[in-house]
């Protein structure tokens, strides 16, 4: 019998499971492992990957969510990336976008630099920060049952939604999506906006 706090979830399985129910949601990823996780689940024209700009993923999500209020916007990023933009959680909470879900895949480590501890390893509670800031919903997920329960919240419930999913720090293979920023931007806009993308 594992305790609720034992971390057993696999990041690739978690991301693939969430994306199975994405529908027509628009998706942004943060620098590092979450970009590789989403690429491993399958590239998509409605995906925009941040290969840099660490700390900025949630903010790109906010601008997109405000511009596209009828579309669900998902941001999948890591704990290190979100910690670099902690103030952005407060900025999202104040704007209260009903269509925005922030999902932090939390392995408590900086995966791209040698698996050093992040602050979440030492007790910093990102879901607690989001709740205190005023998110409409905030939770930390530790197992498959909790993950299954939260996916409809992530994809449909009135936001802003914050979900931290605790995953193991087990190394995974690097799967690379396209990295040319101009290409990714134009591909995303063409799919979303059609002929208006090039006006």
């Amino acid at each position: 019998m594992t305790s609720r706090k034992d971390i057993t979830l696999d990041r690739r399985a978690v991301v693939a499971r969430i994306l199975r129910d994405r529908g027509d949601a628009l998706l942004l990823t943060g620098l590092g492992s979450t970009t590789w996780d989403v690429a491993a689940a399958g590239d998509h024209v409605n995906n925009f990957y941040l290969w840099g700009a660490m700390g900025g993923a949630a903010m790109v999500g906010l601008g997109l969510a405000l511009a596209q209020p009828q579309r669900r916007v998902l941001v999948i990023t890591g704990d290190g990336e979100q910690l670099m933009g902690l103030g952005g959680i407060a900025t999202v909470a104040v704007q209260r976008p009903s269509n925005l879900s922030l999902i932090v895949i939390d392995n408590e480590s900086y995966g791209e630099t040698g698996m050093q501890d992040t602050h979440t390893k030492h007790g910093v509670d990102l879901a607690g920060v989001a709740a205190a800031a005023g998110f409409a919903y905030s939770a930390t997920v530790y197992n498959d049952d909790e993950l299954e329960a939260v996916i409809p919240v992530i994809c449909q419930q009135t936001g802003p939604i914050f979900t931290a999913v605790k995953v193991t720090a087990t190394p995974v293979t690097t799967v690379l999506p396209p990295r040319d920023g101009t290409y990714l931007k134009n591909r995303f806009r063409q799919s979303l906006l059609g002929s208006k993308a090039t006006e």
Partner: protein
């Protein structure tokens, strides 16, 4: 101060004409009138930030979603934006920012001088085209031209609004 910023109303009219829909800002005395006008316009999303670099992401996200944004900040905030500007340059996002200058014309606070003096070079080193303005009568046309360069030619452009236009910060008459 709001009554003494007719140029801010002219800039606001330009931003409306070019169809800016998202106004991201860090509170700033020099932009007080423009921020107030934006907040009072229900057709705009006016977004208060905790730090200026958040605004870079928001404007990129707005463009991904088909909207135009502008970032209002003070010269000190430009330093907070440096790495985030990588995304603007790499993805060639249109980017318009209006920067009120400190540390420049008759500054009282020496701590404002280093970033104020470095603002133009920092922006240019990150690929932003810089248009300094030091007289109020040139502001609206410069913002209009900068916006065309940003949104029509897909470039990053900053308009630097001189401390000469904004006026000196009032530190009181009893300063040493």
């Amino acid at each position: 101060m709001t009554d003494t910023q007719p140029w801010a109303d002219e800039i606001f009219d330009v931003l409306k004409q070019i169809n800016v829909r998202q106004v991201a800002y860090v509170p700033d005395a020099g932009h007080i009138r423009l921020i107030e006008r934006s907040k009072n316009d229900p057709t705009l999303n006016t977004i208060a930030l905790t730090t200026e670099e958040e605004g870079i992401g928001i404007i990129a996200g707005a463009w991904l979603g088909g909207e135009r944004g502008v970032l209002l900040m003070q010269s000190s905030g430009v330093g907070n934006c440096i790495n985030m500007l990588s995304m603007i340059q790499e993805c060639r996002f249109p980017f318009l920012t209006l920067v009120t200058m400190r540390g420049q014309w008759g500054e009282f606070n020496p701590w404002q001088v280093p970033m104020g003096q470095g603002t133009k070079r920092v922006l240019e080193s990150m690929g932003v085209i810089v248009r300094p303005v030091d007289t109020a009568d040139r502001l609206a046309e410069t913002v209009d031209a900068a916006a065309r360069l940003a949104f029509d030619a897909y470039r990053a452009v900053a308009v630097l609004i001189s401390q000469r236009i904004i006026g000196f910060k009032n530190w009181g008459d009893d300063q040493p």
